[in-house]
């Protein structure tokens, strides 16, 4: 009985790995193509690169050597700024709001929560047009910081809902004890509540950083044709100029994906538990 069970598990495992190989084939294609010369691409597109052309990475990073001046180095910094600023803001303001909603026993807190929940449901495209034209009139478009604040506002419902759910499940006794000890609400929040929020913060960081780092809709609208580009937009512009240079484009895709994948693996262990909090709301 036990042996038959193990055999069927082994069979299942083999089937799953076969599926995984198919599923990952595009990623394999991405990696090998990013290391090929145009010649190798034409004659052995699927094989491993015989003479890895690391120069593809150099070309797309520096923008030299026929890449039309598009350098990922500059947009890399923009992407980092554009991701870090709203994520930090989300952690501070989102956790504060979550604390307020979860711990205030007033009837208003339910209303505030509902207002944020509406934000999860409504697509932001509707507000995008007035927001964009207002920013354009104020001369705030083509500016990384403007876009960072826009992300902060748009992702706020996600942050507030995650934090509210998590804080509601925390025992209140530590906070009560600190209050009794004379700590004000701010002190209680920063030295008692905030340190307990690491798991849900990790989940929020993954979800928000992924959404911002990989987004193209808002950057193409708010940054338009300006010099300020994010990584995906730089690759988009490059692709528009050199449609067929897939080996260079793919090297760019690898470069721009590695940081976010690394962040994901660093925080992965918190991710599933955090998702459960999200589902319960």
């Amino acid at each position: 009985m036990m042996r038959r069970r193990n055999a069927s598990l082994l069979l299942l495992e083999m089937v799953l790995w076969a599926l995984a190989a198919t599923f990952l084939f595009p990623i394999y294609l991405l990696l090998v193509t990013s290391l090929k010369t145009p010649h190798e691409m034409a004659f052995s597109p699927l094989s491993l690169p015989l003479h890895p052309a690391w120069s593809n990475y150099l070309v797309v990073w520096t923008g030299e050597g026929g890449a039309g001046g598009t350098s990922l180095a500059a947009s890399f910094l923009n992407s980092v700024m554009l991701t870090v600023v709203p994520v930090v803001g989300l952690i501070v303001f989102g956790a504060m709001a979550g604390y307020g909603i979860a711990r205030a026993a007033s009837r208003l807190s339910g209303g505030v929560m509902t207002v944020f929940t509406v934000g999860i449901v409504l697509p932001f495209q509707l507000g995008l047009i007035p927001l964009f034209t207002a920013a354009r009139e104020a001369g705030l478009t083509d500016n990384i910081l403007t876009l960072a604040v826009v992300y902060l506002g748009i992702l706020m419902p996600l942050g507030v809902i995650l934090y509210t759910g998590f804080i509601r499940a925390l025992p209140i006794s530590l906070e009560e004890a600190a209050t009794v000890d004379g700590a004000g609400p701010l002190r209680v929040f920063f030295s008692i509540v905030l340190p307990q929020l690491k798991p849900v913060t990790a989940t929020l960081v993954i979800l928000a950083a992924l959404a911002i780092w990989n987004d193209i809709f808002l950057p193409v609208i708010f940054l338009g044709g300006s010099e300020q580009t994010t990584l995906p937009i730089a690759i988009y512009q490059y692709k528009n100029q050199y449609t067929a240079d897939y080996q260079i484009i793919f090297a760019g895709i690898v470069i721009s994906s590695v940081p976010i994948i690394a962040l994901f693996f660093a925080l992965q262990k918190f991710f599933v538990s955090g998702l459960n909090v999200y589902q319960q709301n």
Partner: protein, 352 residues
Amino acid sequence: MPIRNKRASWMRVQVARAQRLRLVRLRRSHSSHLLAATKAQLDMSGMQRQSVGTARRRGPRVGAHRSRHLLWFTLPAVLLYGTIYLIPTISGGVYAFTDWDGLSTPHFTGLANFSKIFTLSQGREAIENTIKLAVVTVVIGNVLALLLALALNTRIRTRNALRTICLLPALLSTLLAAYLWQFIFTPDGTLNRLLSTAGLGGLARPWLGDPATALWAVAVVIVWQSIGLTTTIYLAGLQAIPPELNEAMQVDGAPALARTRYLTVPLLAPSITVNVLLGTIGGLTTFGQVFAMTGGGPGYASETVATLIYKQITVTGRMGFAASASLTLAAFIFAIILLQWHYLRRRETAMA
């Protein structure tokens, strides 16, 4: 001003009370550090427990006082969310009824924009395509993800590696994933080469340039990218099911398939709700894949409402029209969410 005074006096009362309590406690414990003190309070002797007793009795008043102030903590979030999200969304709803071009004064045009969405062939096709994409990706994506999650919830040794592999495509930008698949789908791309190697050259076609396949090529990419998160949500839901239930049914002699059908899947209802809702919203707002792979073409064969809105904003500058398309999309999403919520929630309670 009076509110301020009232608050200040509350503050004074609270500080005085806290100081009194603190003095009492300090006599018993030498620690003055906040955290150490609170920890000490958690594991204390009988004597000290008494002092907490008094604090508890005062608790409701302290709590009631605190709660009023705590709502101020939501202020920065509410302000940011209000100015960037809520207010523009409301004014967007107003612009939807105007001929606004983003520069000159808008004129009220009633429902003209809305009827235009449904009479323009571009608008009609966009709506049709968006619905098709959402339905197909949600159904296929959820069935596959559910099967995968069930398979990955067994005791196979490499399950963690497989779970991670599942999520890998979700980490790529939609634009970049779309470029990757464009490379596969182009006329002289990987797929057609593989087909001709396998002797199926007759099936080869320009997948993205053929009106019959362009939309479905986009759907493939969406499922490829979204299946990881969908599976992860199902796995999280599966892990929340107490194993005793399954074991009990096993003892009763229920075969694995029956256990899955009558126990696991019904108990997964909350995860199904979340996944179907997230998938529907994602499918109805599909932008990146179309933007990168087909640009909405050939013709309008893969145009979606989101790419239509984008084109109206950036190319033609018809903001009023774009707003009405957004409002239509928003209303549609809202209606579907309410429907699904109602239906799936009812199933959840019926089955749980």
